[in-house]
């Protein structure tokens, strides 16, 4: 099992608050890996460290064998390591199609190409992906006018448009209507199997993450608490205590 992301002994503090303490974990290539933990346990901080949002204090982060802990956000994104945000972020004053068209991969975009128009294939792909997340009818609406759940789906479609090698999803189902969650789980799984995108998912909804992930890491109090299959994690006393507040 090859690791796509290798995190080794990563620590990060904000002033006096230690958000991550010597965390090591692997995200397996081609699989769906979960990251859980109580609020404030350092999940989003770890995501931010991986995507280069802030420098880390100690440790190493490798993406496909390459050290990325010194790179910045856009450079890491162009390598094919992409994240979505907990507070959904889309381009609000542009319509959905334009949101999609500007989300094409920027890896190889040269100076000449940025002054070109989008290709017919790109438009077709954008429409196909909007259909995939069920937003095709709303493609000409301004993204900012969509509901929160719809914006979340649009952000997911934009991420797919970028053809990442791995996608870090920060609470993909938060704020989504429970009746739509099953559809979303299905789409996440299809993104993994059909598009071959490795997923690393932060999720609070236990039903979702147990359904989705093959391997789960649990953080608590800024440290790695447990690792294992969903069955193993579910039965782990330390995890249960962390969530129920036995500490």
């Amino acid at each position: 099992m090859a690791a796509m992301i290798e995190v080794r002994n990563v620590s990060k503090a904000f002033g006096g608050v230690q958000a991550n303490r010597s965390i090591s974990l692997d995200v397996a290539k081609g699989k769906i890996t979960g990251l859980i933990g109580p609020n404030g346990s350092g999940k989003t901080t770890l995501f931010n460290s991986i995507v280069g949002y802030h420098p880390i204090d100690e440790g190493s982060i490798k993406f496909e064998g390459k050290e990325i802990s010194k790179l910045r956000v856009p450079q890491i994104a162009r390598l094919g390591l992409l994240r979505t945000f907990q507070q959904t972020r889309i381009y609000g004053k542009m319509n959905c199609i334009k949101n999609m068209l500007i989300s094409v991969p920027h890896r190889s975009m040269g100076l000449i190409e940025i002054f070109g128009d989008h290709s017919a294939q790109e438009l077709e792909k954008a429409e196909h992906l909007l259909e995939f997340v069920g937003l095709y009818a709303k493609r000409k609406l301004l993204a900012g006018d969509l509901s929160f759940g719809q914006q979340k789906l649009l952000e997911f479609a934009m991420a797919l448009m970028n053809q990442p090698r791995i996608l870090l999803l920060d609470e993909p189902t938060a704020g989504i209507n429970p009746t739509l969650i099953n559809g979303l789980i299905d789409r996440l799984k299809r993104a993994n199997t059909e598009f071959g995108i490795t997923l690393f998912v932060i999720e609070h909804n236990m039903r979702v993450i147990m359904n989705l992930a093959e391997n789960i890491y649990c953080l608590a109090h800024s440290e790695l608490l447990a690792e294992g299959s969903p069955e193993k994690i579910q039965k782990d006393k330390r995890v249960i205590d962390a969530y129920l507040g036995a500490h």
Binding site: I90, K93, I114, G116, E131, L141
Partner: protein, 350 residues
């Protein structure tokens, strides 16, 4: 990009009106000339503030820089610039037609390129700033430039530079500059119209809507920001060069780096018409200019109060501008609507 009959009619109408206007409204030719300057100001400001979300209060810097660069080139072709400015206008230039036009064209080209070079150099400083800090930072550049040039003897310091007078009849000269500004404004309009239809346009819109997201999606934001500012500077440099020659006399605070007369109205015009739209800045510029000229004529003494009021009302109550308001009211006209057909069906039909 296909152009509809209506659009073609609109462009044709504006073109004809613009070509005829200086001959029919002979008495108003100077106001009409400045109108195109204002249109160019609003269009170039909107590229930054409207389309990319970087509210520059210092774009006037490139207008002034272009003006001075061009003046130095034009004078420098035939005289020693330091001696010329030290004489405070005692040296009277008498250029032939050929000398004048060669100087003007060469000066304008160098002004445009020089402004771009300044924009690229400054981008390393200003694009570290965001939001209101960017606005204040750029304002600082424009104000500092005015003061610095005002203390620089080589370019005449506060006394400015007298430029060569148009060789020929005064009426011919007036029309010459009217059409020069008209062409510059039209070129910048069509240039930015094209630009907003490319990937580049989408990228700067993305930076406006959420720059952090754009970075997280791998967009090379710094490159787009630098290029946009440079393009703005390019057209402003041309405009500054032409304006210096149109005005015959240039000096740092009231003409070149005129923040109150030109720098702030750039923002107001774009806001009034609707920032981030193609036509908004044009409409805003025309409206602002008409209002400004009317207040000068009918409320003399109160003109700055009236204009200040207009600015306050626009900024406080009417930020979306005319085009933004129209888009809110009639979204279908702007293509913002739900289409219930499926992608598959759509493609089969097409």
């Amino acid at each position: 990009m296909s152009i509809s009959r209506r659009t073609l009619g609109l462009y044709g109408g504006i073109a004809i009106a613009s070509l005829v206007a200086p001959f029919v409204f002979d008495n108003y030719i100077s106001q009409l000339t400045v109108l195109w300057v204002m249109v160019l100001f609003a269009i170039t400001w909107d590229a930054m503030g409207g389309q990319m979300g970087y509210n520059s209060l210092g774009n006037i810097f490139f207008f002034g820089a272009g003006m001075y660069i061009s003046a130095v080139v034009q004078i420098g072709l035939h005289y020693d610039v330091a001696e010329y400015t030290a004489a405070y206008g005692a040296i009277k230039v008498d250029f032939t037609q050929a000398q004048y036009h060669v100087g003007l064209v060469l000066g304008t080209i160098v002004a445009a390129l020089g402004s771009v070079a300044l924009a690229v150099a400054l981008s390393w400083v200003v694009f570290g700033l965001r939001g209101p800090y960017f606005a204040i930072g750029t304002l600082g550049i424009a104000l500092a430039a005015g003061e610095l040039v005002g203390a620089w003897e080589y370019v005449g310091a506060g006394s400015g530079i007298s430029l060569p007078v148009f060789p020929g009849e005064p009426e011919v000269g007036e029309r010459f500059f009217y059409f020069a500004f008209f062409i510059a404004a039209v070129l910048s309009f069509f240039f930015f119209r094209w630009l907003y239809g490319t990937r580049f346009g989408l990228a700067i819109n993305a930076i406006r809507d959420d720059e952090e997201k754009a970075e997280a999606m791998g967009i090379r934001t710094m490159r787009y920001k630098t290029i946009t500012w440079s393009l703005s500077a390019f057209f402003l440099g041309i405009c500054g060069s032409l304006f210096g020659n149109y005005n015959i006399f240039i000096e740092p605070l009231e003409v070149a780096f005129a923040t109150v007369v030109f720098g702030i109205p750039m923002v107001v015009m774009a806001l009034l018409g609707g920032k981030g739209t193609l036509w908004g800045p044009v409409i805003g510029a025309v409206l602002y200019h008409v209002i400004k000229e009317a207040t000068w004529k009918y409320f003399l003494g109160w003109q700055w109060v009236a204009l200040g009021l207009l600015i306050v009302v626009t900024v406080v109550f009417f930020q979306q501008g005319i085009m933004g308001w129209a888009q809110d009211k009639w979204p279908e006209l702007f293509g913002i609507e739900v289409e219930e057909d499926s992608a598959e069906g759509d493609r089969e039909a097409a």
